[in-house]
Amino acid sequence: MKNKKQSKKLIVIFLALISSTCFQLPVFADDGSLIMGVFPRRPAQTTIQAFTPLAEYLSEKLKREVKLVTTYDFTSFWQDIEKKKYDIVHYNQYQYIQSHKEFGYQVIVMNEEFNKTTISSVLISKNPNITSLKDIAGKTIAFGGGPKAMVSYILPIYTLRNAGITNFQFKSIFAINPPNAMMSVYFDRADVAGVGNKVVEMSDVKNNISAAKLKIISQSEEISQLPWAVKNNMPKELKSTIQELFINLKNDDKNKIILSTSNVTNFVIAKDSDYNRTREIVFEVTGVQY
């Protein structure tokens, strides 16, 4: 019986190793290839599926391999950023401003999702007794990704603070990502979820829950969409080429599928100043100036 348990544990460990092998793709490229890291906004598998065409497109255009890498969670991803393992990186606004400040990552393009280059967060609930922010006191709020999630934590907290609700008036739980934060509400693990306003429309959510049963209680102000940045030491030509490749995707019909697969309607040129409002909000919430 004991042996059986042990063998099961071994199987689990083996599966976990396989899983980590799959999801932790090589972060160092000594062969001239580029490593493109994408933050775990969605489950790792979904992320790989969504951005593989883009990586292949870039590889093709840059004539070098572009290796797509993601992690299981935000913490792991940030650890890779700290190690500067990603040549091209796609992450949230908060991570960008921090990496920009601490590691010199420079934004080149941002997402245009649902034909918008801005994004806001919403507080949603399934509980019919919660109809406004004042009903949130004493409830559990699920956030996606962790305390560094911009749209799924910083922005909702900012909204709540603006409404006079402090962190001590509710219980915070962190789902592994924003869709799961929303699903925590759906599965009654939380009363309220703080997520991006377009999370509801994400296929990950649609495939798992009936979002119609959830209602939006509050919506935050809009901030710039998620950025794509490159290392600060990347050659300028390459940086420009990559930027062009991103923004030119929409111009070629055959590449539009790459946009749709990546769950964006377009990529648009972005500059660091586009994230100043983000820096202000983060400062307001965390007290740290990036």
Binding site: K8, I11, L15, D73, S184, F187, S210
Partner: protein, 731 residues
């Protein structure tokens, strides 16, 4: 062959040998293979079910291991993916992770699953289910008999995180194992059919075919065709059977041939036998005719005998009764024929009788019946004849007899006596008519007239007493007569030394009839002969019985005149004695003195013949017949019986006493014993003893008594004493 085929067609295949052989085999194969298929089906089903459970358990345990991380990190998408992947596993209807509070933490439901789609038509999309829907759905689906719910708890460090609810369907296993079962069943059935066919074919070739040939051979045999043998070439028992059959057929053929030869011989023998039987039958018919003629006709004259005349009489009575007509009967005998016979010899007498019968025949009509009854006695029936015509015919007969007869060159003149009776005037039955004619004939003879017509004056006994005579004839034939016995006591020893048998007629209406009332009639009608014969038989038979009981006495029997005049009597007596094996000296025949004196010479001859046989003779009623002492001296008698008339009065009448005394002395002087009859008193008895009488007999000793009483008496020591005592007591 056709019969065999017919038999085959008439028989049901199931009752045939093939059916009886194949059906059990097919049944055994079916049971075996069917059972095997069923067993395999059950085993497969259980194994598949266990395999499914094991697989699901393994998967469940796997997800139990990987789920806590996702639960703790609120990774519902992964949980959902887990459950989705689990749900997509074979045989799983649903897989839901439920929180410890009972709320589902995953939403994936395969709405295409047959059980889900059956019960949740209103859910068009898989995410239309809220937590209540999912819980209810699990409950509802769990109600299906094909669905089993398994629960895998998710724990970490004793903290309950939730449970994985898995709904398992055994539909696929059922279907799969059922299909396997059906396949196996099909294979088994195929094997059964093929094996049965092969076995049947082998059986048919090796067994049924020889049997069919044997059957055909048997059919041929039953039709008598023994030429064709049965050809079965096999070394098994059927081959042996066929050889035996052929051998049997050969033997049968030989036997039939021999039998046919024997049959032909038997037919020849039978034919010969039939011819001989036919010949013997013809001879027998002839002999029978002769015997019948002899039985119905007199051998001497060729005339019908007594049987014919009786039959004819009955016929005429019936006929005349219906027609209301008269007819007459003649009884006729020849006058002085006995003298002719005695003087001229029996042959002469016979020739005379033949001549008389010839004249009689020419004297009568064809319709008249003449019969010789015996001796010189003839009977004639005259149908449809009144008395006047009968008288005319009687005269005609008389005249016919008047011319002398020339017998053996000797002229003889003879007359006849005819008695005539008429129906219905003198009787309505044969006995009465014959008796009436007989009485009339005796009257005619006694009065020396040629014929006499019967009338009541001739016989005061008629017609009632005539009827008695008829009854007596029947009584003799039916042995309705019995004997009473009167003891004879020796005066010296005072013991019974003998008994006298006295006949009694036990008449059904008249009671006990004494011999004086019917013996004379018997003597007159010829019945005395059978009567004497019967009495003799009864007496000697009883004597024989007493001998067997060691009762040693003599038996006295009275004879009539007719008996001693009958030449056949000694032969009759001899045959009866021989039959009963008695000592002849024990038998004493008593003849009255008058009988002897009526024809001493003739009686003497018979008596001598009787005496020569050793039979004792006694002269009865001595003193009433005027015996000639010279004749008496010649008689071979042993005893004298003094008539009762002298004895009864001897006490009162001195003359009678003197007669008794002298008779005793006379008898003693002749060496004869003396018996005194009629001893009715003690005084008579005493005087007889004084007179030296040897034997006394009478009512003083005992009246005639039935056989059981006399037998009882014979066993006593002293009769005189006991008799005296008995009478004293009576007084």
């Amino acid at each position: 062959m056709s019969t065999s085929s017919t038999n085959k067609t008439n028989k049901s295949w199931f009752s045939s040998l093939a059916g009886k052989f194949i059906l059990p085999i097919a049944t055994i194969l079916t049971i075996t293979l069917g059972g095997s298929a069923m067993h395999t089906y059950t085993e497969d089903k259980n194994a598949a079910y266990n395999s499914m459970i094991n697989k699901i358990d393994n998967l469940g345990q796997l997800f139990v291991q990987i789920s806590p991380n996702a639960i703790l990190s609120y990774d519902f998408e992964s949980l959902n993916n887990f459950m989705e992947s689990l749900t997509h596993t074979e045989d799983i209807v649903y897989a839901v992770i439920v929180s410890p509070e009972g709320n589902p933490m995953t939403s994936y439901i395969d709405i295409n699953n047959e059980f889900i789609s059956k019960d949740n038509h209103n859910h068009s999309h898989k995410h239309d289910f809220d937590r209540h829907d999912i819980i209810n759905l699990m409950k509802e689906v769990g109600l299906h008999s094909q669905v089993t719910q398994k629960i895998y708890p998710i724990n970490i460090e004793k903290q309950e995180l939730g449970n994985i609810y898995v709904g398992l369907s055994n539909t696929r296993i059922e279907e799969k194992t059922r299909n396997l079962f059906l396949q196996q069943l099909f294979v088994s059935l195929s094997i059964i059919i093929i094996l049965s066919f092969i076995i049947y074919s082998i059986f048919k070739y090796n067994t049924l075919k020889p049997i069919t040939q044997l059957i055909d051979g048997s059919v041929r045999l039953s039709k008598g065709n023994l030429d064709k043998t049965v050809n079965v070439y096999s070394n098994d028992e059927l081959g042996d059977l066929a050889d035996c059959f052929n051998t049997m057929m050969g033997n049968l053929k030989t036997n039939i041939k021999e039998k046919d030869e024997i049959l032909n011989q038997l037919k020849d023998l039978n034919r010969n036998l039939e011819n001989r039987v036919e010949q013997r039958t013809t001879e027998l018919i002839e002999v029978n005719k002769e015997l019948e003629h002899l039985a119905l006709h007199d051998t001497l004259t060729g005339l019908p005998n007594r049987s014919v005349i009786h039959g004819s009489l009955k016929h005429n009575i019936q006929f005349s009764k219906v027609k209301k007509e008269q007819f007459c009967v003649f009884m006729m005998d020849l006058d002085r024929f006995k003298e002719v016979n005695d003087t001229l010899g029996h042959d002469f007498g016979d020739e005379l009788l033949v001549a008389v019968s010839e004249r009689l025949s020419t004297s009568l009509r064809d319709t008249d019946v003449i019969a010789r009854l015996g001796g010189d006695e003839f009977a004639i029936i005259l149908p449809q004849t009144p008395i006047n015509d009968a008288i005319f015919i009687a005269n005609k007969i008389r005249k016919k007899m008047e011319p002398v007869f020339m017998i053996q060159s000797q002229a003889l003149s003879i007359s006849v006596s005819i008695g005539i009776s008429n129906y219905p005037q003198h009787g309505h039955d044969t006995t009465a008519l014959m008796k009436a004619a007989d009485v009339a004939m005796y009257h005619s003879k006694n009065n020396h007239i040629s014929h006499c017509i019967y009338h009541d004056g001739l016989d005061n006994r008629s017609p009632d007493q005539l009827n008695i005579m008829g009854e007596l004839r029947d009584a003799i034939n039916n042995k309705d007569l019995c004997l009473f016995y009167q003891p004879k006591v020796d005066t010296k020893s005072q013991k019974i030394i003998g008994v006298e048998a006295l006949v009694r007629w036990n008449h059904h209406t008249r009671g006990l009839v004494f011999p004086d009332d019917f013996v004379p009639f018997a003597e007159q009608t010829g019945l005395i002969k059978p009567l004497t014969s019967l009495v003799l038989r009864l007496a000697i038979q009883q004597l024989s019985e007493w001998n067997k009981q060691d009762i040693n006495v003599s038996m006295a029997v009275n004879l009539s005149m007719h008996d001693v005049q009958n030449d056949d009597f000694p032969d009759l007596l001899s045959s009866i004695i021989e039959q009963h094996q008695i000592n002849q000296g024990q038998l004493m025949l008593e003849i009255t003195e008058s009988t002897i004196m009526s024809n001493p010479e003739s009686v003497m001859a018979v008596l001598e013949e009787i005496a020569s046989m050793g039979v004792q003779l006694s002269i009865d009623d001595f003193g009433t017949g005027y015996s000639s002492l010279s004749n008496l001296k010649k008689m071979p008698v042993n005893e004298l019986k003094i008539d009762r008339s002298f004895v009864m009065d001897m006490v009162k009448d001195k003359d009678d006493r003197a007669i008794v005394e002298s008779t005793i002395q006379l008898a003693h002087s002749m060496g004869l014993k003396v018996v005194a009859e009629g001893v009715e008193t003690n005084e008579i008895s005493k005087q007889l003893v004084e007179l030296n009488c040897d034997i006394i007999q009478g009512y003083y000793i005992s009246k005639p008594i039935p056989v059981d009483e006399i037998t009882n008496m014979l066993t006593k020591e002293s009769v005189l004493t006991s008799s005296t005592e008995k009478k004293s007591r009576t007084r």
